[in-house]
Symmetry: C2
Subunit: 595 residues, 2 copies
């Protein structure tokens, strides 16, 4: 976001809620389903345990929100997990948080798109065979929209977010009323495989861990504090509370209705779609719920396209990723981030065949790593600074850190084989890469340091104008070369003789148009242009380390794009060959062609 | 081929025969089969017509060879169809010949590879499902060998060529003896579809046209006259005669045996393989014939990898294709030709699923277009120059031109729907492209002409050193910029302020290390690096058409290749953005990093 715009367009609480809500609220579209998919392994009788599990997850959500309320009030300049960890825990935890967040952004795109397309194919079963294709198309469309420069505007976000909240709350409300007043006919459980597992602590833990996907996205607010109207911290805390409250109501409502309706999770239709169908039948209201779900999930995917470049640029300024990510303002730089993000997201969606359920084990673990690190960082901060109220504040963040830490370990344990191992491998690998890059940058900085540096004596500078013929473009290049000529600069023309028949003519024309610059003719027995030139450079530069050579090449700017392939290939060849050569500069002097 | 080598390594007749023979002789591997594949449409009774057709084709071969004997004696500097047509018929026929030859070179690669792999899969049926893959692999292998610089050496060529000639002549000789002395048991005709077409003139013409693929490759000798030992023309004529004689014997022999053995052509095994199996059983001799066939066909494909770049370079010197094809001596230039050739050949092989029979209708038409044009050119030449003996010489080339012209039309007519239409579309298209490129080059040459040109007044030159920080690399770039400073050159440092917090420090360090050069700080409200720079350039250059700006960018040469992605991205960004900008030169000053 342009800084100027960012400074002027501060968001009010209602709009901020909409901006930050798409990611956290959209997760209710799949959280209940994840719980049920674990419980059904023990048969449909086990499905009723979804209620206590959902209550437990809601309690966790309240803990996390309460804990994060303190983060946003403390880090009003933006307190993502990377910054909080760096501030309080040190480099390695901070890099782990950054790695977890970057993988999360990729997974947010994959998971949200897959879940959005699942909402679509639930409503339109004919599209089901094309779901992977639709996922890829959706990611490409979001990436293109961002490449073309769609800017986040609070107003645009508000519409689908509130549309989704209204649809889901309407569905839950109407569903509960209908259920209580017995207006819906009882239905038998759908066909499903017989329960193969016993109901035990492990099943419970897995179901709980699976449902914790409901918490993804809460982090977003802590990143975005500075865009709120002042007092930023207080407003962000209010937004967080509202977010938590709406999340809990929607999540508990959906879970209750799934239980009440005896919904059995399956691969062909989402749980939310099944509930909406029971509540609204095949009426337009049903399709409204599905469209709202699709839209908010697309919006959730889109948030990563702002978050990924932002975190990359912070990491680049700290020299942990290539420097070019630092300049967010240049389109090309921004595009690189978008291409990387959407590329990986597409790989994941295709690799996991667009299956939300298969992708989610990868997703939640990174989220909880960042939660745990961020809350632990806060605990460390209170203990260190002992600001007013630190005694009870340390308890709030401490409970948050411990609770999310336990969930993180549970996720790692229960979901390891289902895919969490990928993230557990990738995060340390990313940390390692960050550290290697950092070390390299630090070493280079030390090498480039001006501490005790004596500027070397001036160069001995030779300027060579490379010509294949003598024409107006060459005359311009010679003029350029001569304008470079300080008192110590030798300027020469160079002609590589690939066809001896032409040499005399070129020499004669150079005599007339070469502006008095001497011409060197290099013979080329093998008709190569490069070999004799490089030999000549070697010869000049063998005279000392201070022999700088500038090769001036006339280049054409034709009028039509396709004409480029007809020109400048020699210049390209030379640049390619001399790209990594010491003390050698290639300067193309453009000549504008009218035809 | 390096010129030096070319001058020294002239070929004797026996070696020259081997060098030029792979392409023309290898075509006997599929010519008979093509005749039979047409005749079988009228049932197996029609197969016996293959004998008179083969005799007719041999007569044509004798006519073409006789006609070409005159070409090679007249054009001792090399008389490919393009040169002969250009010399005698004018630009458009010459370009048509060039287009026909270039498509032929591509098709030689596709057809020869497909036929070679067919020889292989005939011997090893288990490989048949992978034939397309094998074709692609073979083309890639030949291309890689040529990219790595395998040079044609007569001695290497001689071995497989004479091995092939010996194998085929051995098979034919032994087969004829066995057949005459009745040592082979009679076999019934293989199962085949019933004949659906009547035996008529059209079938005859189609079979004749199909068999004319036996003539492909004769052109090669006329291209290569200069590499023979003197007297080049006479030696080339002798080589041609031998080539024709061997071709006729092998072709008639194979066709006779196919008739005598009642071979029915089919998709699973080549006709030559069937004959060899009848003659030799499953003995090593059978495998020898197949291996020899595979080798000579690979060699035939390989000849295109020398011919294609050579013709391209001639066309480039005449300004009909992009100039970069002209410098054959540079590896990169040579590589482009190889990549284009093998790329198209792979597309064809994959598109026609590696089926020689499907590819051949495309092949022969181009060959006969170049024959007809070349012979017509010779006729025109005799009529024009009226050299000694022109009266009877005009007859020889005239008969050649008419005969090949009739075959060309027959091919176009009978094979049109089978694929010849592709070539009939592609050749005029290529001619058009050649002419458009030529016109562009001519226009540019006129625009660049120094006729009546007054050199404009010298530039006003501004040199900007673009910096993001101040370090040793920057000091080096400033030294470079100052060395450019003639009396009229303004040198300035430019710093784009993407993070205002750093400006004061950069200014202070510049004051110390900037070697007295003034520093311009550009503000960047949107954090873009490029936008402020381009605005600044616009501002400088708006002062007049003669405002030349050189932007000096410090660039790093790191020690390891992977470190490149960590550096120089800014330089790349700037070069990309200013690539097509008038009066603007970007000069990277390299700084060698030790770490």
């Amino acid at each position: 976001m342009p800084l100027a715009q960012a400074r002027h367009e501060r968001l009010g609480k209602a709009v901020a809620l909409a901006v930050f809500a798409s990611d956290p609220l959209s997760s209710v579209a799949y959280a209940t389903e994840e719980i049920l998919l674990v419980l059904i392994l023990a048969g449909h009788m086990a499905l009723s345990y979804s209620l206590p599990i959902a209550v437990g997850i809601s309690v966790l959500l309240v803990i996390v929100v309460t804990s994060y309320r303190q983060t946003v009030q403390t880090y009003q300049q933006g307190g993502g997990a990377y910054l909080v960890s760096k501030d309080n825990l040190g480099v390695i935890p901070a890099l782990a948080a950054a790695a977890a967040l970057l993988t999360d952004y990729v997974l947010t795109v994959s998971v949200s798109t897959a879940a959005g397309i699942a909402a679509l194919t639930s409503a339109v079963p004919a599209l089901r065979p094309y779901s992977v294709l639709l996922c890829v198309a959706a990611i490409v469309a979001i990436a293109l929209a961002n490449l073309r420069g769609v800017r986040e505007s609070g107003r645009i976000f508000a519409v689908p977010t509130y549309f989704f909240v209204a649809s889901i709350l309407g569905m839950v409300g109407w569903g509960v009323i209908s259920a209580v007043f017995g207006r819906l006919p009882a239905q038998p459980y759908e066909a499903h495989r017989p329960g193969l597992e016993g109901v035990g602590l492990f099943l419970f833990l897995r179901a709980y861990a699976a449902g914790c996907t409901a918490l993804t996205g809460v982090e977003a607010v802590s990143d975005g504090v500075p865009v709120l109207k002042p007092p930023e911290g207080k407003n962000a805390a209010t937004v967080l509370t509202w977010l938590g409250a709406i999340s809990v109501v929607m999540f508990l409502g959906i879970t209750y209705l799934a239980f009440d309706f005896g919904v059995v999770p399956g691969p062909d239709e989402t749980v939310v779609s099944k509930i909406a169908r029971r509540v609204f039948g095949d009426s337009p209201f049903y399709y409204t719920v599905q469209i709202a779900t699709l839209l908010i999930l697309v919006l959730a995917a889109n948030t990563s396209f702002a978050d990924f470049p932002r975190l990359s640029s912070i990491l680049a300024r700290d020299r942990y990723v290539p420097r070019q990510f630092a300049n967010q303002g240049d389109r090309l730089v921004f595009s690189n981030g978008i291409l990387i993000l959407s590329g990986f997201a597409i790989v994941l969606v295709v690799g996991f065949r667009g299956d939300t359920h298969a992708l989610l084990p990868l997703y939640a673990i990174g989220v909880f790593i960042s939660f745990t690190l961020s809350q632990s960082g806060m605990v460390r901060r209170w203990l260190r600074l002992r600001e007013k109220g630190w005694q009870w504040r340390v308890w709030i963040n401490g409970i948050g850190a411990v609770a999310t830490g336990i969930v993180m370990l549970t996720l790692a344990g229960t979901k390891f084989l289902e895919g969490a191992w990928i993230v557990i491998v990738v995060i340390p690998l990313l940390v390692l890469i960050f550290m290697v890059m950092h070390r390299h940058y630090e070493e280079v900085a030390a090498e480039l340091s001006l501490e005790g540096f004596e500027p070397p004596p001036p160069f001995r500078h030779t300027v060579l104008v490379l010509i294949g013929d003598v024409h107006r473009g060459v005359v311009r290049a010679v003029q350029y070369a001569r304008s470079l000529g300080g008192p110590d600069v030798a300027v020469r023309g160079v002609f590589v003789e690939t066809d001896p028949a032409r040499t005399a003519r070129v020499e004669e024309r150079w005599g007339k148009w070469g502006l008095g610059v001497p011409l060197v003719v290099l013979t080329s027995p093998y008709r190569s242009l490069l070999r004799p030139l490089i030999d000549y450079l070697d010869q000049i530069q063998s005279r000392g380390d201070d022999m700088m050579v500038t090769i001036v090449v006339p280049e054409f700017l034709p009028r039509h794009w396709w004409q480029h392939i007809l020109h400048n290939q020699t210049a390209l060849l030379i640049k390619g060959a001399l790209l990594f050569r010491k003390n050698t500069v290639v300067a193309d002097v453009p000549y504008v062609l009218k035809k």
